[in-house]
Amino acid sequence: MVKIHERKFVSVDPDKCVGCQTCEYACSWTKEKAFNPMKSRIRVIRVNQVANMAVTCRLCEDPACVSACPRDAIKQSPETGIIEVDKDKCNGCGWCIEACDYGAIMLHPETKVVYVCDLCKDKGEPQCIKWCPEEALTLVTSDVLAQKARIGAVRKLLQDTQKK
């Protein structure tokens, strides 16, 4: 079983994200053969022009969506950490949607069952990452994110010190 430390998910750097929705188009094209942000597993939110961020599944440990499902329709793959939806069991009740802190699991407009990012496991790599023109998306583990944050914080400290 893959431990949380090894689990990779799509993360956005909000400093780089420009809110262009290219990831939404790439996702819906890959998964649905259509350009339709309403069928994308990754969604861009823009608040007040300066804050832009793409949001998708974080592959949480002990995921709230799994716990919330009253029909046992959602499972987390022990191998990859990917959230898997049993389309036959799901009746679109939406408990998982309410449970997810990120709005990453959604009700499909046509199939009426929930759907979520699967890291494009058939394609080898998430297509949103491949297409993002700003290189704002990366496939990371929590450890790598924490490292990045630490390095960033210390760099900033260095800059501030140099300024003084």
Partner: protein, 619 residues
Amino acid sequence: MFGYAGRVLYVDLNTGKTHTEALNMDYAKKYIGGIGLGMRLWLDNSKQGVVPLSPENTLVLALGPMSGTMFPTAGNGHAFVAKSPATFGVGEAVAHGTFGAEMKRAGYDAIIIIGKSEKPVYLWIDDDSVQLLEAEHLMGKSPSETEDAIKDELGDYYVRVASIGLAGEKLSRIACIINEKTRAAGRTGLGAVMGSKNLKAIAVRGTRDITVAKPEEFMDMVKEFHERMKGPATQKYRTLGTVENVLVHNALFCMPTRNYRQAHFEEAGKVSGEVLNEKYVPKIIGCSSCAMRCEHVVVVPEGPYKGTLTRMEYETLWALGPYCGIDRLDAIIKGMDLCNYYGIDAISAGVVVGFTMDCYENGILTRSDLGGIDAHFGNSEALLQLLEKIGQREGIGDLLAEGVRIAGQKIDKGAEKLAQHIKGLEVTGYDLRCLKTAALGFAVSFRGADHNRHGAYAYDVKGKVDRLKAEKGRGKMVRDLEDVYSLIDSFIVCKFSRGTYYKELADMAKLYNLVTGIEMTPEELKIAGERINTLGRLINIREGLGRKDDTLPWKVMNEPIPDEGPVKGAFVTQEELDLLLDDYYESRGWTLEGVPKTEKLKEIGMSELESIVKGKQEE
């Protein structure tokens, strides 16, 4: 059907009834989409001599065939068309953002809005469901506030909204229509047309799939253009942005300053793109589907305007800055914010303020005329006070909201000579006295003074021609550029991406084919561009415009550039203008009066509109 949605939505505000009709595919092939299709539909839905701000002036909203696809910059634009309350000829304005893609997903290529609602309303399009909702509570709100309020009351973040501000409600002839907070369909006063219909906003939500005719090749082309957009063709827009032009134009002495008193701003270093980016730009964002992103978001970090957040481009910075002699970027940003707040075209607004300052310094308008404002050039307080008055149509602002042409006529006392406009549309940031290819482009532009109908300044600014010379051959240059620019606004792709179409028409034809599945050669596309430009001309002819209107602002033809430097003494004489016009008309196959000849219309497949030129063919 691919690319096109195949449907046109008709909204009758008199009766509140709506219906859809199939898109006329002959129009689609001939006029592509955007301004081309919009103008053609407008022509069918309007009567000659229609009063711009009357219920009879139909407002058309049209998309391009690529709207809603992933193609970078092509997915997101929309165009408005109506008779312009500023020029009394054809009015059109394009905006990008997110609105166009949403409307395509709702399943419409165009919306035709006729009549006038008894009460203020907004149009709510939720896929097939179309409603007119009460908008009394939105009146007086800015486009940004309106957008938020509508999203809130409809309970959906993904609703996209194009709306007018107070200026549009009050029928200002410089009013615009804004979507995505800061993206304006700015020029030719179409916000007032919306206001005259008691239509505060258009809100749209679309959930349909968009697919293309040849998906695999299409995705290859998307990939290719993603790469091109990382290259030199778009570097300017990705780095400093259009504001780079401030120092470039200033060095060339082609930046109109203080209402065309100078062509060079001695304080340009304080308002340069370099300073703007260093101090005020925390973030550059992109429109839907764009792979280059250009929108420089600016925030004032300190001082009296602290916290002001808006978008800034060269034209707006120039108009609110150097054109009014103002050298404070924080005040210019605040001015831009006021223009967006009231929903006025910031280019026209800056030119109106520059005009007012010129009138004031010449004693044509007094301090008491201006309600106590000390409107000297360079007074940034005066800029903001005047913008407030124009936005609210209060005091002198009521007159100034009519634009410089009408304001100049009404003030009289020589004010008309200070009104720098063509066909009633205020000038933009290119000093036409020393850019003579641009001067021709501006003079013949069917929507009035504007760089975006041709981009002919490029020849002058880049030194590809002698910019001080008016000579034969410029007509064809302008003509070819116009045809491409008309296509760009009909496809609708972003003009900032034009450099990525390395093979220009061949690339555009390929894109059109892959998306729509309709075969179109580059040659046929070129003719479509010519057709669209000719259509703009024909509408103007029907509405009474002609050669007499293909002219230049008074100062361009009467006040030589005074600044010491490379272009001192430059201006455009009547003889030069006549030479340029004759050359241009000839290259287009038009009469010396600028009327397309019958055989020309036949040649480009426009015989159905022959009646417009009938009896006007005599040389």
